[in-house]
C-alpha cells in the first residue's frame, strides 16, 4: 500500500482520571490514506485516547501534530479550527436530537464554517445522499434506526471536510443486522482514501480494511503490526490471547 505524508501524529499522551492513570504515554502516527484499527480490552483507554487526540478529553501531557503542525489546545481558535479537520464518530452517534438529519449536517456548515443557508443545504444533501439517506433527510434522530443515525453522524463529520477521521466503536451500539450498512459506508470512505483511526472489535471488518492493527492495554500500546500478523501470530502473548478470543467470538480461527 502506498502511503503519503504523516497526517496525524500524537506523542506521549498521558491522562489520569480520578487518581487512576488511564493513558500512560501513548504515541501514534497516521499517514495519509492509512487506516489504523485500535483494539484492546475494555478499560484499555482506547476511547479516552481517541478523545484526547481532539482534546475532548484534555490530556495531562503529550503533544499532537496535524500535518506536522503542532496543535496548541489553549489557543481556542486554533483548537476549533483543528477539530473541524478531525472528524469524530461516536459509539452512541450523538446526533443533535432536536434537529432533522439534514439540519444535523447543516449546522456545522452554517454555524462553524459560516456558509450561506442554501449552499449548506446543497452540501448537506450531497453528504446524506452519499451515505444512502436521501429519503430520510427530514426525519428526526428519534425516527431513524441506529444504523441510519450512525450514517447521519458520518455525513455530519464528512461535511466539515476532515483530513482524518476518528471512529470510536462505530457499530458496537447497533443490532447485528444494522452493522452492515455502516460498515459499507466506512468501506466507501476507505476506498475514497480517507485517513482513519478506528476502534472496533469487528475483527473481520478490521482485517479487510486496516493497514495496521494496534493493540492497547492498561493505557499503553503493547504491540502493532499488519492485520495478518497481529491476528494470527502476534509476538506478545497477551496480544495473542486477546486476538484468539475475538477470533473465537467472530467464529473464525486463524
Amino acid at each position: 500500500m502506498t502511503m503519503g505524508q504523516t497526517i496525524l501524529r500524537v506523542e506521549n499522551i498521558h491522562k489520569e482520571l480520578g487518581g487512576k492513570a488511564i493513558l500512560n504515554g501513548v504515541s501514534l502516527s497516521v499517514r495519509k490514506g492509512e487506516i489504523k484499527v485500535l483494539i484492546g480490552p475494555s478499560g484499555a483507554g482506547k476511547s479516552t485516547f481517541l478523545q484526547s487526540i481532539n482534546f475532548l478529553v484534555m490530556p495531562d501531557q503529550g503533544r499532537v501534530w496535524l500535518e506536522e503542525k503542532p496543535i496548541n489546545p489553549t489557543d481556542k481558535k486554533a483548537l476549533y479550527e483543528y477539530r473541524q479537520q478531525v472528524g469524530m464518530i461516536f459509539q452512541d452517534f450523538n446526533l443533535f436530537d432536536h434537529l432533522t438529519a439534514l439540519a444535523n449536517v447543516e449546522i456545522g456548515l452554517i454555524r462553524v464554517k459560516g456558509m450561506k443557508k442554501n449552499v449548506a443545504r446543497g452540501r448537506a444533501m450531497d453528504e446524506l445522499e452519499r451515505v444512502g439517506l436521501k429519503n430520510q433527510v427530514l426525519q428526526y434522530p428519534a425516527q431513524l434506526s441506529g444504523g441510519q443515525k450512525q450514517r447521519v453522524s458520518i455525513a455530519r463529520a464528512l461535511a466539515m471536510d476532515p483530513k482524518v477521521m476518528l471512529l470510536d466503536e462505530p457499530t458496537s451500539a447497533l443490532d447485528p443486522e444494522l452493522i452492515g450498512e455502516v460498515h459499507s459506508v466506512i468501506r466507501d470512505l476507505a476506498i475514497r482514501g480517507m485517513t482513519m483511526l478506528m476502534v472496533t472489535h469487528q475483527i473481520r471488518f478490521a482485517r479487510s480494511l486496516a493497514s495496521e492493527i494496534v493493540f492497547m492495554e492498561n493505557g499503553r500500546i503493547l504491540e502493532k503490526g499488519p492485520p495478518e500478523k497481529m491476528l494470527s501470530d502476534a509476538e506478545c502473548s497477551r496480544t495473542r490471547e486477546f486476538c484468539s478470543k475475538i477470533n473465537e467470538m467472530s467464529g473464525h480461527l486463524c
Binding site: Q51, N54, L56, K76, Y80, E81, R83, Q84, V86, G87, M88, F90, D92, N94, L95, F96, D97, H98, I107, G108, R111, V112, Q139, Y140, P141, A142, Q143, S153, R156, A157, M160
Partner: protein, 283 residues
C-alpha cells in the same frame, strides 16, 4: 396588525397599561409612573344593602351571597388582571435572569458557580413576605428609588423566580447526554455556540413542564402583593367582602378565579410543550 392596534387601544383606554414610546422596558417605567390602584383607593360601593348574616330581616343568606358575587365580579376580574400582569412580569424577569444563571451554574468556573449558589440560597431561603418588605420598605426606599408597590412585587417575584427557573433549566441541561456537547465541539463549535445552538434548544424544551409548576406557584404567590397594598384579586375580594359581609362567597370566588388561571396557564404550557416537541422523541 389591526388586532394589535385594537388591543393596544383597549389597553390604553381601559387600563392605561401601555406606553406610547414603543419601548418594552418602558412598560415597567410606565407602571411605576402610573401605579396600579393601591388598596387604600379601592372604592367598592354595593348598589344593594347587605347585612351581616343572622341580623337581618329574614332574607336568606344564599341570594345575598350570589348578589355580592355578581356585583363584585367585574371588580375582582380587574384585580385578576393585576395578578396576571405581576405573574407575566415576574416570569419574564425570572427567565431573563434565570437563563444566564443556569448556564453559569453549569458551565461557569468555580467562582461564578459559588456566586450563583449564594444568589439562589438567598432568594430560595427567605420567605416571600420578608423579601417583599425588605425591598419595598428597605432597599427601595433607602436607596431613594421611587418604585410603586406593584413594581416592587414584580421585581421581587422575578428575582425569586430567577433562582427557581435557573434550577429548572440547570436540571434540564444536566439531563442531556454528555455526548451532545462533545459532538458539537467535535465539529469545531466553540463552547458558546454549542450551548446556544445545541444545548439550550433541547434544555428549554425539557424545561416547559417545570415552568408550568413555576407558573402556578408564581400565580398564587402574586396574592401576597396584597401585603404591599397592591389592589390585586385577593385584596379586592377582601374589600368587597368587608362591604357586603359575604366573606365565604367572595373568597370562594377569588379562589375559583385563581384555580381557573392556574388551570388555563398550565394547560397552555402543556399545549406549547406538545407543539415544540421533537417528533419521535418521547419523554
Amino acid at each position: 396588525m389591526l388586532r394589535k392596534i385594537v388591543l393596544k387601544r383597549a389597553l390604553v383606554e381601559n387600563f392605561n397599561w401601555w406606553s406610547d414610546d414603543g419601548n418594552p422596558l418602558a412598560l415597567l417605567i410606565f407602571f411605576n409612573r402610573n401605579p396600579v390602584l393601591p388598596v387604600s383607593d379601592l372604592k367598592f360601593e354595593p348598589k344593594q344593602g347587605f347585612t351581616v348574616c343572622g341580623l337581618t330581616q329574614g332574607t336568606s343568606m344564599i341570594p345575598q351571597g350570589l348578589t355580592a358575587i355578581k356585583e363584585g365580579l367585574p371588580y375582582l376580574l380587574e384585580g385578576a388582571l393585576v395578578n396576571i400582569a405581576v405573574v407575566l412580569g415576574a416570569m419574564a424577569l425570572g427567565f431573563a435572569l434565570g437563563l444566564p444563571l443556569a448556564v453559569g451554574h453549569v458551565y461557569g468556573n468555580r467562582k461564578t458557580r459559588s456566586l450563583i449558589g449564594i444568589y439562589i440560597l438567598f432568594f430560595r431561603g427567605i420567605p416571600l413576605l420578608v423579601l417583599l418588605f425588605l425591598f419595598y420598605f428597605g432597599l427601595f426606599s433607602l436607596s431613594g428609588i421611587n418604585a410603586s408597590a406593584f413594581t416592587v412585587a414584580i421585581v421581587v417575584l422575578g428575582l425569586i423566580s430567577a433562582a427557581y427557573q435557573s434550577q429548572i433549566l440547570r436540571g434540564a441541561i444536566l439531563s442531556l447526554p454528555e455526548g451532545q456537547m462533545k459532538a458539537a465541539l467535535s465539529i469545531g463549535m466553540s463552547k458558546k455556540k454549542a450551548i446556544f445552538f445545541v444545548i439550550l434548544p433541547q434544555a428549554l424544551r425539557l424545561s416547559i413542564p417545570g415552568w408550568s409548576n413555576e407558573y402556578s406557584i408564581l400565580l398564587k404567590d402574586s396574592a401576597v402583593a396584597y401585603a404591599l397594598g397592591v389592589a390585586e384579586l385577593m385584596a379586592r375580594a377582601h374589600h368587597v367582602a368587608s362591604r357586603t359581609y359575604q366573606h365565604l362567597y367572595l373568597y370562594l370566588t377569588a379562589g375559583f378565579i385563581f384555580l381557573l388561571l392556574t388551570y388555563l396557564g398550565t394547560k397552555g404550557l402543556n399545549v406549547l410543550y406538545k407543539k415544540v416537541g421533537i417528533p419521535g422523541y418521547l419523554r
